[in-house]
């Protein structure tokens, strides 16, 4: 396998280094992408460069839900069709996109931009928690749905928020947790099984 040696022109090396900073892109993928960009039609490469500049110039944070958008407020917060009394709290903008794809949720969102981490020391001041509390102040929101990931960090975040919300008289709920579609009971871990049992419902 041919590797780029120290003889790579520095412009390529620079691109490789920049690509290598992206999440999920290792040194080898970065090399492959850099060489692809060098060989592809010049317009394609320029479009990509422009798109990157544009996204930073045009994308804003919605002051209501903290999601990234090209408008403030974002289309979801601005829509009269969405129920403002229901707020679904997620870790990342990608989680909003995932829930929207299911077309079942009619409320609004709140994006925390991360999760608390007891192990790495990510604290509440590093997330958009203050903004969430500010939204709850006028009494319009009746229910906050915790849709954080079912990980140690996501669960810690949900527990923390539940404690914060308790004195505010807002109902806090969590997504049901249990067996994912397509899973096999035999391979389920103890925590997943226990939660699936806790979340059981009458068979209909």
């Amino acid at each position: 396998m041919a590797e780029i040696e120290t003889r790579s022109p520095s412009a390529i090396q620079n691109l490789v280094d920049q690509l290598n900073r992206l999440p999920g892109i290792g040194p080898k993928s970065a090399q492959r992408l850099a060489y692809f960009l060098m060989r592809c039609p010049r317009e394609h490469a320029e479009e990509l460069a422009r798109a990157i500049v544009d996204v930073r110039a045009r994308v804003v944070t919605c002051a209501v839900c903290q999601n990234v958008s090209d408008r403030d407020p974002c289309p979801i917060c601005a829509s009269p069709q969405r129920d403002p009394s229901l707020v679904c709290v997620v870790e990342d903008p990608l989680d909003v996109a995932a829930i929207e794809r299911a077309h079942v949720f009619k409320g609004r969102y709140h994006v925390l931009h991360g999760a608390l981490s007891p192990l790495d020391g990510v604290g509440p001041e590093q997330l958009r928690i203050r903004e969430l509390l500010a939204r709850l102040r006028d009494g319009e929101v009746r229910e906050v749905i915790m849709a954080t990931n079912p990980t140690l960090e996501g669960d810690a975040t949900a527990m923390y928020l539940e404690r914060l919300l308790q004195p505010l008289g807002v109902t806090a709920t969590r997504l049901a947790r249990g067996l994912p579609a397509g899973a096999d009971l035999e391979y389920a871990d103890e925590v997943t099984l226990a939660r699936a049992l806790e979340g059981r419902r009458p068979a209909s």
């Binding site: 790495d120 140690l152 810690a156 527990m159 994912p180 925590v191």
Partner: protein, 259 residues
């Protein structure tokens, strides 16, 4: 002879971070091979059958295959998931500080069976949720420090060597490496002063006497000795223990709910 392609070990999952589209890199502390990173492929997919076995703070039997950058998890079966611990913010905050300490103090791939046993012990103590989480963490921290050569001296002044009377309240200096006498305390820089109850606990903990530590802890406020032990760890590992920040936030939450 080549090393075998796969090997087994028992480990505690300490941390995880996302990698690529669906993978996770896990930092594990194993019983036999010390602390190192492994990769678990496809772990972020909702239907991953291994995900629940490989969350942080899980004790797990692993089958690993040698890989180029990281060894790869090929099988994982949880032995203990510490469910009560997982469902309490306060206990998570304590466990988080223990994990952070281990990551700061241990070099990679160095056999650390003693630290492994201590961490299993701590997680079991916390999970039993019979109270006394903080004294268990203090016992763990001081024990691990001793194990890696940064023990806290509590019997003599670490500056002048004078014996400290058994009934004297301790003054601890992280930079000096333990307790200092009243005279040496004047120019020892930042110190933490323990009251009589906290002193009794710290002495028991420094001796490695768990029953005595547990008994004396019932009366004591352990925040100062715990802070002193963690200062000691930070000073000697030259690393910031960020998990202390999370623990502080949880503590503030407790005050807010009460008030």
């Amino acid at each position: 002879m080549d090393t075998p392609r796969v090997y087994r070990c028992e480990a505690l999952v300490l941390r995880h971070r996302d990698s690529g589209e669906t993978d996770r890199v896990l930092r594990v502390l194993s019983d036999r091979y010390g602390m190192f990173d492994v990769v678990a492929r496809g772990l972020r997919r909702a239907a991953s059958r291994r995900a629940g076995h490989l969350e942080p703070l899980t004790r797990v039997d692993l089958l690993l295959a040698h890989g180029r950058t990281y060894d790869v998890v090929t099988q994982a079966q949880a032995r203990a998931v510490y469910r009560s611990l997982r469902e309490s913010l306060e206990l998570l905050a304590l466990a988080g500080q223990a994990v952070d300490l281990v990551c700061a103090l241990l070099p990679e791939r160095q056999e650390s069976a003693g630290v492994y046993r201590r961490l299993v012990w701590l997680l079991e103590q916390l999970d039993a949720a019979s109270g006394g989480g903080r004294v268990a963490l203090l016992f763990f921290v001081v024990g691990v420090l001793r194990e890696v050569g940064f023990g806290i001296e509590a019997g003599r002044c670490v500056r002048c060597g004078r014996d400290l009377a058994a009934d004297q309240d301790l003054v601890l200096s992280a930079a000096a490496g333990g307790a200092v006498c009243r005279v040496c305390a004047h120019d020892a820089g930042a110190v933490r002063m323990l009251d009589a109850d906290a002193t009794a606990v710290l002495r028991a903990v420094a001796r490695g006497d768990w029953p005595a530590a547990r008994r004396t802890a019932a009366e004591a406020d352990l925040r100062t000795p715990l802070a002193a032990a963690l200062d000691h760890a930070q000073y000697h590992s030259d690393q910031v223990l960020y998990a202390r920040g999370f623990a502080a936030a949880v503590e503030r939450l407790g005050e807010r709910v009460v008030s």
